[in-house]
Amino acid sequence: MPQFDPAFFAPQLFWLAVTFITLYVLMAKVALPKIGAVLDERQRKIDDNLDKAAQLKAEAEAAVAAYEKALSESRAHAHSVIKEASERLAKKAEESTRELNAKLAEQIKAGETRIAAAKDAALTNVREVALEVAGATIARLVGGAADQAQLEAAVAAALKEAGQ
């Protein structure tokens, strides 16, 4: 077999060394770093995208949390505004009711005073008219003027009787 012919050992070993070392250098310095760089870059890009996705997810969650917080805050705010407004309105209504009551009471009082005055005035008039009528009647019936003091007492008694 040619494989066992020592005459060809030296040239084969020599060229094996030359080609193998050449291939080693080409692989170590050129081919493998290139392929490695491509693989690394892909891995980095994938990692980057995953990171970015995670970041976006976190951002979205933060936005949702912020939205919910704002929502609950504004709800609470609205609640307090409504409460305040209704309290204020209730107070105002109460106040105006009280004012109106006071005013009405005053007017009623004034009215009563006026009525009392009118009544007094009317009663005074009635007495004078009664005195005059009584005087005139006596003068016509009896002839001559009646006793003024007796007349006044009789009218007063009659008025009292009617007043009751």
Binding site: Q3, F9, Q12, W15, L16, L23, L26, A31, K34
Partner: protein, 240 residues
């Protein structure tokens, strides 16, 4: 019928001699140079575009890279990282030699025991140096496992020494024998096809099947050569 041994013959193309040593450029050297060119061209041109989504060729280059990187990682661990270019070169050189040999009429340099032995002895010496560099004289523990009774040393040490020193030979002979026998079978079957005329159809069908098998063996033997080198490297770095 053509002599099935004929295909292994070395034919000097450019006779050279330096200092009394014959370093002629032969048909074997031609195939080695072609292998270097093919491997380098394949691995550099395929990743030239540096595509994020790899094409067909780039995927293949990446597969080779990750296959050997994974093999080294699994068998040697992270300490084997710096030997990656060597292991990768070894695999590609053997694989390409085996596959180029399947081209009809081509010479198969891995069918020459001196070539396979050349690579095996480099692995053997390299691994031994790495072992002593990492562990010093403690590396001699390789030949006598920890915890074994001292009386067994008489048997264990010679066995371990012989098995250690037979590594380069088994590594070299396995590859050489597989390639040589495969090519002889192909040649003999080819001879039958021609000799039997019309009835040559039968050996021709068989030849087809054996050719497929030989492609498998070409890849398998490159894998075996490389993984054994990785295992030897593991022994040197981590001991047993």
């Amino acid at each position: 019928m053509a002599n099935p041994i004929e295909q292994f013959k070395i034919k000097p193309i450019i006779p050279l001699e330096v200092g009394g040593v014959d370093i002629s450029f032969t048909n074997s050297a031609v195939m080695m140079v072609i292998a270097v060119v093919v491997v380098t061209a394949f691995l550099t041109l395929s990743v030239r575009s540096r595509a994020l989504v790899p094409g067909r060729w780039q995927s293949m280059a990446e597969v080779f890279y990750e296959f050997i990187a994974g093999m080294l990682r699994e068998n040697v661990g992270s300490a084997g990282r710096k030997y990656f270019p060597f292991i990768f070169t070894l695999f590609m050189f053997v694989l390409t030699g085996n596959l180029l040999g399947m081209v009809p009429g081509a010479f198969t340099y891995t069918s020459h025991v001196i070539v396979t032995f050349g690579m095996a002895i480099v692995v053997f010496i390299g691994v031994t140096i790495i072992g002593f560099a990492r562990h010093g004289t403690h590396f001699l523990r390789m030949f006598f496992p920890e915890g074994a009774p001292i009386a067994t040393a008489v048997i264990l040490v010679p066995i371990e020494v012989i098995s250690y020193f037979s590594r380069p030979f088994s590594l070299a002979v396995r590859l050489f024998a597989n390639m040589t026998v495969g090519h002889i079978i192909l040649k003999v079957l080819g001879g039958f096809v021609v000799a039997l005329g019309v009835f040559g159809v039968v050996p021709f069908a068989f030849l087809g099947a054996v050719t497929v098998l030989e492609f498998g063996i070409a890849m398998l033997q490159a894998y075996v050569f490389t993984i054994l080198s990785c295992i030897y490297l593991h022994d040197a770095i981590h001991m047993h």
